[in-house]
Structure formats: C-alpha cells, structure tokens
C-alpha cells in the first residue's frame, strides 16, 4: 500500500447548524498505547446525512461507536464530543440519556427475540411510557417512518425473527426512532441486505432527514454519493478529508481520498 502523509488533511466546518461535533477524539482499545482513532475533529450538520467512508480498519466504525459511547466497556476514549453544549464524553454525563438522544443501528439486523410491537415498546416502557394509546401510536408512527408499517401492520404480534433481513433492519430503525432521538448513527446498515432491500432502506433514510440528523458508515461509495450531503474519508485511524460529498467524489483535495474514490487504492 502506498504510504500517504497522514498529517496532510483537509477538513471543513459545514456552514449549517451543527448537531454534534468532536474535538481531538482518540480511541484506545484494551491496553494498546497506539490509538485506533487519532485526533478526529468533525462537525455534523443538523438534518443532513453525513457519510463516513474508508477501507476496513480505517477506524470509521470505531469513531461512530464512540459518538454514543458504545465503546465504554471495551475502549478508552479521549477528547471531546459536544452535543447541546455538553461534552458527552465526560464520565459524569448520564450515558443512558446520551444514548436515548443519539440512537444507533448496527451492521447486522439485531431485533430482539420478541414480537414486532414489543421490539419497539420494550425500551419505551423502560423509559417510563406506560399509556397504551401512546405506546401503540409510537409503534405505528415509527414503523411508518421506517417504511415497514404496510408490510407488518397485520402481524404486529408475530416474532420479529420471522421477518426477512431487510424488514428486520427497518424494524431496528423503527425501534431506534421510536425513542425520538435527535441523531441516528448507522453502522453499515445495508451490508447484510440484498440490493432491493438496500434501495428501500436508502429511500427511507432520505425521508428521515426531515426529522433526524444521520451519520452513516458505509463501505459502499455509490451509496455514500447517492444519499449523503457531507462525507468524511478515514484512513488508518485518521480523518484525512471532510467536505461536501460532491467535492469528495469529484475534486478531492487529498491524494489518498482521490485514490480511494477512484478505486486506485492499495
């Protein structure tokens, strides 16, 4: 692999209202002295889709999982994550509240071994919502927003595991947005899906930007260019370039980015 200069970067700050930003974020796994993610400082605009791209092992998933502190148990995270004027990376911050406001959808669909509606209501009940009308409203709206309602409205009591992979992933999205988060983090949500399910998912995500800020990790560059407004390119644990998606894919400033998006990488 060609050795790129990891200190040469091009990172902009979007002009829109910023929903979430990080400053000098570093992630250390286990007892490693060497960080798996180095000095990542990015700002994510509100109600837009931002894509994080890069080869496997570039640190994009590590970075995404740090944003709602999913790495708490397995890694040390230094630096600042600023959300609503609070540094949510502080150990004093209530991490459960953080995750309620910053939801996450994973690479492999992971519905609970419960019925479709229970998948959505379980966390709502834990959060103290007991009104049955309210619960069933949330089930319906979140399933509609995730474009799954028409397929499952007659079988809400069926096991979620009986759904297809694509349906399961949309159920996971519905489950996340039923919590009414601000921000939705998606970690390669389409990698386990077939092309038709992927297209459906992308349409759904576009729709969701009306109400949510979305940050999506993807290894699929067409997908990134189709759906995102901004794109960050990760390489070997460093963010090398962050700009408007069009710019990244057509006139990148950094050689590594250029090589990656044109397929001449590695």
């Amino acid at each position: 692999m060609e050795a790129y200069d990891l200190n040469q970067t091009h990172i902009i700050i979007p002009p829109e209202e910023i929903a979430l930003s990080t400053k000098q974020l570093q992630v250390y796994y286990g007892h490693n002295q060497q960080p798996s993610m180095t000095n990542a400082s990015l700002s994510f605009p509100r109600f837009q889709i931002t894509a994080l791209i890069g080869a496997s092992g570039s640190g994009k998933s590590t970075y995404l999982r740090a944003l709602n502190r999913m790495n708490d148990r397995i890694a040390r995270v230094d630096g600042e994550i600023r959300y609503r004027g609070t540094n949510i990376n502080s150990p004093k911050v209530n991490v459960y509240e953080v995750r309620k406001h910053i939801g996450m959808v994973f690479q492999k669909p992971n519905p609970f071994a419960k019925s479709i509606s229970e998948n959505i209501t379980f966390a709502l009940k834990a959060a103290g919502i007991t009104n049955r009308q309210e619960l069933s409203n949330r089930v319906e709206t979140s399933l509609k927003e995730a474009a799954l309602w028409d397929e499952v409205k007659d079988s809400l009591n069926k096991s979620a595991l009986s759904l297809s992979g694509g349906q399961q992933q949309r159920l996971c999205i519905a489950r996340a947005i039923a919590m009414k988060p601000d921000i939705l983090l998606l970690d390669e949500p389409a990698s386990a899906l077939d092309p038709i399910s992927t297209t459906k998912l992308e349409v759904t995500l576009k729709e969701l930007t009306k109400k949510y800020t979305i940050i999506i990790v993807t290894h699929n560059m067409e997908q990134a260019s189709r759906i995102s407004t901004y794109t960050a390119f990760f390489h070997l644990g460093h963010v090398l370039e962050y700009d408007q998606t069009e710019k990244i894919f057509q006139t990148p400033e950094i050689q590594a980015t250029h090589d990656y998006v044109t397929g001449n990488f590695g």
Binding site: Y96, K100, K108, N110, A113, A123, A126, S159, L161
Partner: protein, 295 residues
C-alpha cells in the same frame, strides 16, 4: 496386512466396542425395569416404608425427594443466576475473574460425599439444625451450584452480543438489558439446564445421608402448617429421600424385602429422571420455536 485391511479391522473394533456400550445401557435399563416394575404398584407408591417387615412402600421418601428438590432449586437457582450474570455480563477479563472461575471449578470437582460432610459439620453439628430437609437442601445447593452456574452462563453467552448492543443503544441500563432481553432469549437453555440439574439432584444420595438424614418420620399430609413437627411441609424435620432409601435398605440388611423395595424404588427413580430429561428437551425446543416464530 495392508492399510485397507487394518482400516476395516479397526472400524470393526470400534463398532464392536460401541455395541457393547449400547448393550450395557440396554441391560441396565432392562434390569431396572424388569426387576423393578413388578414391585411398583399404587400401594407401593402410597404407603409408608417399613424397616423390619416386608411390604413397605415409598410414599414419604418420594415426597421427601420432590420437596427437597423444590427447596434446593429455590435456593440454588437465584444464587446461580446472579453468579452466572456476574460471570457473563460484568466480570472483566482479569486475574480476579480467573480466581472466581477456579473457585467454582474446585467446588464442582469436590466429591459429593465431601460436600455432604461439610453440610453435616456446619449445619447439623455447628448450627444445631440437626438432620433436616433444610440442611439437605443447602448441601444439595452446594453440590448443584457449580453445574447450574456453568449451564446458565453458557446459555447467556450463547445470546449474541448484538442483542446486548441493541439494548444498550436504546438507552437501557445494562441490568434492564440483561433482565428484559438477554434472560428471555437465554430462557430455553436456562430451563433445560435447570431440569437436567434437577435430575441429578433427585438421584443424589451421598450428600444427603448426613444432612437430610436417613429416617422418615410419620408425616401428616393434612397439616399444612410448616412449623408443626409432623407437617409434611416442615423443613426442619429429618427426611430420607428415595435415593437414600435404596442405599439404606441395602446396607443395613434388616429389611426382609430390601431387594424388591430397592428394585421398585430404582425403577421409580429412573422413570422420574427420564421424565426430567425428556421434559428438558421438549420444553427447550418448544420455547425456542415459540420465540423464533417457528423459523
């Protein structure tokens, strides 16, 4: 001899040894059933035992075994569950966890007679509880805990990490995730483990001889007050179980029909344990199917 001939002979030898193992089991089951069944009757199951004359039954012993089993599970299940949750969800990968695992392994490798003697020393002698169902249940708990912890931990581990992540990402506490998501998903495995351990507890005798005792006082099955001395529910009374009974009538040599009583009791013991084993599998499969929507 060519390699092919050796191969054929070796295969034949393996088949032959396997056949013998199968024959041993068939012989054992056949012996228990054919020599035991003729002695199992309604009268045998419902009349009290007698030490010095023929014709005694196993009513009280059977009840004691079941009662002891229930008490043992009531004590050991919560403890085992809590410990298994600790090991699979909270324990870090460090020397402390290693030490805890070693301690549990040591407990599981102790001979049941040693565990029983410890129960005898501590509860019967030191705490003056005397030979009692309670002492027996606690001794059986010691004997049962390591296996139960291991099987529950295994079931919890079998639940994919993605389920934990799913719960935590929704802002649920770890504890809520464990209770509401991981435990239900692990339920078929946990239940199977409990029932299989129930079979072992039901047949155990060495740990009980000096804790629950070897005598079966007359019980009053109409007395539902557990504090009464003769109540069948009283946990402080001595209680000979079915397995202990088989051992006792054979070693004391004062019961004239010891052989037929033990044959009948063995048959009952085996049947109950068979029911546990098949029940465990059936319930596990049923729950699994139900949870995954028949897929």
């Amino acid at each position: 001899m060519t390699p092919n001939q050796t191969d054929r002979i070796a295969t034949q030898l393996i088949n032959f040894l396997v056949l013998i193992v199968v024959l041993i089991l068939l012989f054992l089951l056949g012996d228990i059933i054919f020599s035991g069944f003729p002695h199992v009757s309604w009268h045998f199951l419902t009349s009290p035992s007698s030490s010095f004359s023929a014709g005694g039954g196993i009513r009280d012993q059977l009840f004691n075994s079941l009662y002891l089993l229930v008490l043992t599970l009531l004590i050991s299940f919560p403890l085992a569950l809590g410990s298994a949750i600790y090991l699979s969800e909270y324990a870090g990968n460090n020397w402390r966890t290693g030490l805890i695992r070693t301690a549990i392994e040591v407990l599981s490798s102790l001979p049941s007679v040693v565990v029983g003697l410890f129960g005898y020393l501590l509860f019967v002698i030191s705490f003056h509880i005397g030979f009692s169902i309670l002492s027996g249940a606690i001794a059986l708990t010691f004997f049962n805990l390591p296996l139960l912890v291991r099987s529950i931990e295994g079931s919890l581990h079998a639940v994919p990490d993605s389920q934990r992540e799913a719960g935590i990402a929704l802002g649920l506490s770890n504890w809520r995730t464990i209770r509401g998501i991981i435990l239900p998903a692990a339920l078929p495995g946990i239940l199977t483990g409990i029932i299989l351990s129930a079979g072992r507890v039901f047949g155990e005798a060495a740990a009980l001889i000096y804790t629950a005792g070897q005598s079966a006082p007359i019980l009053n099955y109409a007395d539902w007050n557990p504090t009464d001395g003769s109540s069948f529910l009283n946990p402080m009374r001595p209680a000979e179980t079915l397995a202990v009974h088989i051992w006792k009538v054979n070693t004391e040599g004062v019961t004239p029909d010891a052989v037929s009583v033990s044959a009948g009791a063995s048959a009952v013991l085996i049947i109950v344990i068979l029911i546990f084993n098949f029940g465990a599998r059936a319930i596990g499969n049923h729950l699994y199917k139900k949870m995954t929507g028949g897929k």
